[in-house]
């Protein structure tokens, strides 16, 4: 079997008396879509934040490609090729699509203007943003310099996913990407997720939406009480099984009570 690309072992994160992560494990294999599900408060967002650098675990080890890593900030995780699309999308509504795509990693003009006066290469940035959106079939947006706040919810999600796909070389994490979307727009985003996987980039998908999870996921990581309860194959388990495991109504085979 191939080696996992991203692993976490024995992650612990405490907030005061609350233990959000209680010796949690995590494995992501190359080229797969791994769904992470769990009840509210099960600690899945803490797990994802630890992997994406937004939170620093108190104990435990994260390895990327076998190498131990520790991310002090989302910036460091991004530098290592792990891109996260947060539920809030982390877009600046008043700025343009292209500004948002390049937020924090702008392209400067070559030569003196760029080096000494910090001048941005807007044509290059606009072209790149346009290319990336077109690649993902998202060019429903005519004007790359239009502010993000004038886009629909699905279009905004598309911009955020396109940004992650454009720069996420190793892993893309999607936090509840369809939670705020209508049926049509959700469909678009799911297609987008499958499209990104077909480029060979593994995806971690956090979602409450069981039909979406069972449709696109290759494996499902069930998180319960701060740790990984089990990983199931969606082809061998039903949605009601997954929900039962998640809520503790039923124990998966091979897991001691």
């Amino acid at each position: 079997m191939t080696q996992p690309l991203l692993t976490a072992r024995n992650l612990v994160k405490r907030y005061g008396r609350v233990t959000a992560l209680d010796h949690a494990d995590f494995d992501l294999y190359p080229g797969e879509i791994l769904a992470v599900i769990g009840d509210n408060g099960a600690g899945k967002s803490s797990l994802i934040k630890a992997i994406s650098g937004a939170v620093q675990p108190d104990e435990g080890e994260i390895r990327l490609d076998g190498q131990p890593v520790s991310f002090a900030s989302p910036l460091e995780a991004r530098k290592a090729g792990i891109e996260t699309v947060y539920q809030t999308l982390a877009l600046s509504p008043a700025l343009s699509i292209s500004d948002n795509m390049f937020m924090g990693r702008e392209i400067r003009k070559p030569g003196v203007m760029g080096k000494w006066f910090g001048m941005l290469d807007k044509p290059a940035m606009d072209k790149f943003a346009r290319d990336k959106l077109t690649e993902l079939g998202l060019m429903t947006i005519q004007n790359i310099s239009q502010p993000v706040e004038t886009l629909s919810g699905g279009q905004r999600q598309g911009v955020a996913v396109a940004r992650a796909a454009a720069f996420g070389s190793r892993v893309i994490i999607l936090d509840e990407p369809t939670a705020a979307l209508g049926v049509k727009e959700s469909r678009r985003v799911l297609d987008l997720i499958l499209d990104v996987r077909s480029r060979g980039i593994p995806i971690v998908l956090i979602s409450h939406n069981m039909p979406h999870v069972f449709e696109v996921a290759d494996r499902i990581h069930i998180h319960r009480l701060g740790k990984r309860l089990c990983v199931i194959n969606p082809k061998e388990h039903s949605m009601s099984d997954a929900v039962a495991y998640m809520t503790g109504a039923k124990l998966p085979e091979g897991v001691a009570a």
Binding site: P93, A94, L95, D99, G104, L120, P147
Partner: protein, 351 residues
Amino acid sequence: MSDAPDPVVERNPNESVASFEHHSRGALARLQHFLHRFPTMVPVIVLVLSLIAFGLISPNFFSAFNLSLIMQQVAVVGTLAAAQSLVILTAGIDLSVGAVMVMISVIMGQLAVNFGIPVPIAILLGLGCGALTGGLNGLLVTRLKLPPFITTLGTWNIFLALNYYLSGRETIRSQTLDAEAPLLKLFGERFNLGGAVLTWGVVLMLLVFAVLWYALNKTAWGRRVYAVGDDPESAALAGIQTKRVLMSVYMIAGVICALAAWSSIGRVGSVSPTSFFESNLESITAVVIGGISLFGGRGSILGPLIGALIVGVFNSGLRLAGVDVLWQLFATGWLIIVAVAVDQWIRKISS
């Protein structure tokens, strides 16, 4: 129509994937969208209308002399408004700009006149002190996470007190400056430009706005300032070091206040610890009338320049028309309220 595709039908390859919904909008909604894209148009329209109105009322209004006088009068507050704009763009507010400016003018004057430090060095030290004052505000806002309003309310009083302490409540007179530190009065010196009489202070103000316009619109730093003001959490998640951006904003604002201090010495002709007492509020007025949103992240840096000019034009126009000074305040007050109301209305577009 048959179902067979007609190859002649205009099918722009870009458009085949581009389907942006175009609702038919009313005139008011179109205006809202227009102003949303170009928020500076509000102050521009107000400026043009007020110029026309006052020009019709008083024939002297449009003389080159009067117009250049307006420029001279707004030069100091306009420069301060540039500093204020930066802070307000990050959804903050800086109540200390006026106190910083007066304190720095005192520092420059004291160092040059009473401590015998060469004037250029005294000016450089003053600019450095400006950066320090901004750094103090920035540290309090980013490290102690105090609201900018409270932080700068505090430092306003502190700097005012230091200002009285450093100056000994005494004015350095114009003659003394002429004799010992004429360079401090540089920005008060006049020159002719086709009938208009301008001061170097006006040039400084325009230069500050030009540099800021470039930095905010053409550099990565500028985009980050807007992003931090727009939504600091999103900006941080998108990988921006928001604290560093805020620190840079407050420190640059401090340096601009110090430049305004240098300019103010030229404008007043002396170094007075009691001058420009209301300049912090006047700078906020210019920024708000200029269409920069108090909620951060929106508006053009050129707006406050126009905002400052609007206040200047109203004051000059009403004075030339022989109207009591109190109506200048009255008009400015309404301008502020209308400007903020328009901003709120424009912002509704995103919801």
